[in-house]
Symmetry: C2
Subunit: 380 residues, 2 copies
């Protein structure tokens, strides 16, 4: 077996809230749905950014361990790490430029730590590459030099991957925090906007998701006994509380911090939701709280539906809709149905839930495998 | 001079974000606008609640020191402490009941600490009283036993005080976090709602203010080059950034935490505001950021104006409007003007800025003085 036979592809999506990581051996790159994927809740605040390299090293070590224990010890792995970055928007950084530089350098330090932990007799860790919004790969130096081109490029990786098996569709990736709505034509991501700002404007980025969306971002008022009552702007509750109460997500899927630091039990979710109208759960009663939750879930679906309608109106009528992410069933699929879409394909149904939830880091494996296939291993 | 000659009235408004304290000697109680007032930013989170009694003791000691240094040392002060509570809504507490109990007990401990610091030869600290939503005073035991009646009663104190010199009006108290709109008839607060929930419903409580209001609670989208772009739900910026940029508040008045923990400089405010559409300030440019800020300020005024119109529609047309609080000029006054109100009275113009900003704790002094006047000092 040649050098590429022992190649391990490592795809990372470094966001402001989660780190997703997928890995696959080169010989299995034709079956990316079988890649190993992990998702780690790691919010990038000022306090945590100094620990990012430690967390990245930990995540990568978990992946490496799975292959090294499988492999004959005399066979060395060669690891090709590739990342997309969205965490640069975090207000831990004064600007996106600072964000990209800090994150690329954190990945560099993390790889050094992994190199130290796994001596070269076991594996060789190659220099990292970064996905740009045009789907090309950049070195660390190139990424830092043209930071806007590697900022928020994870949607491109997911869409390119999905385009490889559903060449004409609209991809709706509804995650914990944001929803991407990306037209794919002849296998290629074909959005109107490339930057976050342009994508917000075009409806291709909807800043709403199944877990972290705040209540006032969804509705200014909620119904109490049939009358609309304005809500507080305090972060008393999140849409995760709504979706858990409605049975749309499990407690295991509710993996972000709760608004009040308490548990994800049904009781605590109710208390948080009651507080948005400045009331105790016991005073409001279960029926009222559930009515509020249903109203909020519908309003969130409507938000995504409106954005989808805007995307469809730009010449994408009658296209299949591929839905994925944690909010696939309760948000994306509902929105597509209400927008009148007929052919709705569940990515989870096609490739399994694990690969679906980590679709951005699996998408990076796709970009990476395509690149290696075309440029060859010597071109790294 | 009898015992009441040395009486010191201490009014506290213990909120979820600020502690306001006003004090006046009994002999000066006819001139409450000359009361000494302080405002302390002290957000009640899970971490800080255990320190509340320390902070309350510190605040009260600052007030006491001003009188003890003025007084002849042989004359003992008798301190009458009275508080309103709104902090029970904080999600530091599982319920309002727990909130009221923890806060009343914190005030109890704080008074014990003050007693220890100032031996009885200098002053006697009486047991505290708590203002209820009907304007009566409750002992700690009574407050805990009927917690809903003392929850969020500070608006009543302010309105009762204002009613003592503008007997027929609508009071608009626009603070850092919330805005109260209270009809006053024949000197008495005459709202439709008493609890927070009922006041939200009636428009008498608008959960918006000059500092801490979040951006998505004001507008779902902002104009960029004339086109509306949806905003992120992340707490990237606050209305304090908007009002500082527009010159509506000073950096000194911007006394809450910034969204990103950085400074209140114009530059940092711009960076925070740009981030709400996922962009760097340098990319957007000053003109666009200022356009966003003006749009958001107008939208906030409109929110308050709509609530005011609802209150006016309940038989309060042609009443004078008394405006007060940090958001008096940029929010309350604008809203009243746009609602077509003719007779708008600035409380700050009438009684000075300091008393106006601490109007809730001065209001408690008014309730307290009225009570002592009617029931006498022996009735405490």
């Amino acid at each position: 077996m040649g050098l590429e036979g022992n190649a391990l592809l490592l795809g990372l999506d470094i966001g402001g809230v989660n780190i997703k990581c997928s890995s696959v051996q080169w010989k299995d790159a034709g079956h990316l749905e079988q890649a190993i994927s992990t998702k780690t809740f790691f919010p990038l605040w000022k306090q945590s950014i100094t620990e990012l390299h430690v967390e990245l090293a930990r995540v990568m070590a978990v992946h490496l361990a799975k292959y090294l224990s499988r492999n004959d010890h005399e066979i060395r792995l060669t690891v090709y790490p590739c990342a997309s970055i969205t965490g640069e928007l975090s207000d831990a950084f004064a600007s996106k430029k600072e964000g990209i530089e800090r994150i690329t350098s954190s990945l560099g330090s993390a790889l050094d730590a992994v190199r130290e932990a796994y001596p070269a007799t076991f594996c060789t860790i190659m220099e990292p590459r970064f996905v740009a919004v045009d789907g090309t790969l950049r070195t660390m130096q190139q990424a830092n030099a043209r930071h806007r081109e590697v900022a928020a490029a994870n949607w491109h990786a997911t869409a390119a991957w999905v385009g490889s098996f559903v060449p004409d569709c609209i991809l709706m990736d509804c995650g914990s925090t944001t929803t991407d709505i990306i037209p794919i034509m002849a296998g290629k991501p074909s959005p109107k906007g490339k930057t976050d700002l342009d994508r917000l404007r075009s409806g291709e980025l909807v800043y709403t998701g199944a877990l972290r969306a705040t209540i006032p971002s969804i509705a200014r008022a909620v119904p109490i006994h049939g009358e609309l009552v304005p809500v507080s702007f305090e972060k008393f509750a999140l849409m995760a509380d709504v979706h858990l109460l409605l049975g749309n997500i499990t407690r295991e899927q509710y993996d972000c911090d709760t608004a009040d630091g308490r548990s994800t039990s049904i009781d605590d979710c109710k208390k948080r939701l009651a507080r948005i109208v400045c009331e105790d759960a016991a005073e409001l009663g279960d029926d009222v709280i559930l009515e509020m939750a249903r109203f909020l879930a519908n309003a969130q679906v409507k938000m995504v539906q409106d954005a989808l309608a805007r995307v469809i109106a730009r010449g994408h009528a009658n296209r299949s809709i591929v839905v994925t992410g944690l909010g696939e069933a309760p948000i994306a699929m509902q929105a597509a149905e209400q927008a009148g879409c007929k052919d709705i394909i569940s990515l989870a149904g096609k490739i399994g839930t694990a690969a679906s939830i980590a679709s951005s880091s699996v998408g990076i494996l796709h970009i990476l495998a395509t690149w290696l296939d075309e440029a060859g291993f010597d071109g790294w």
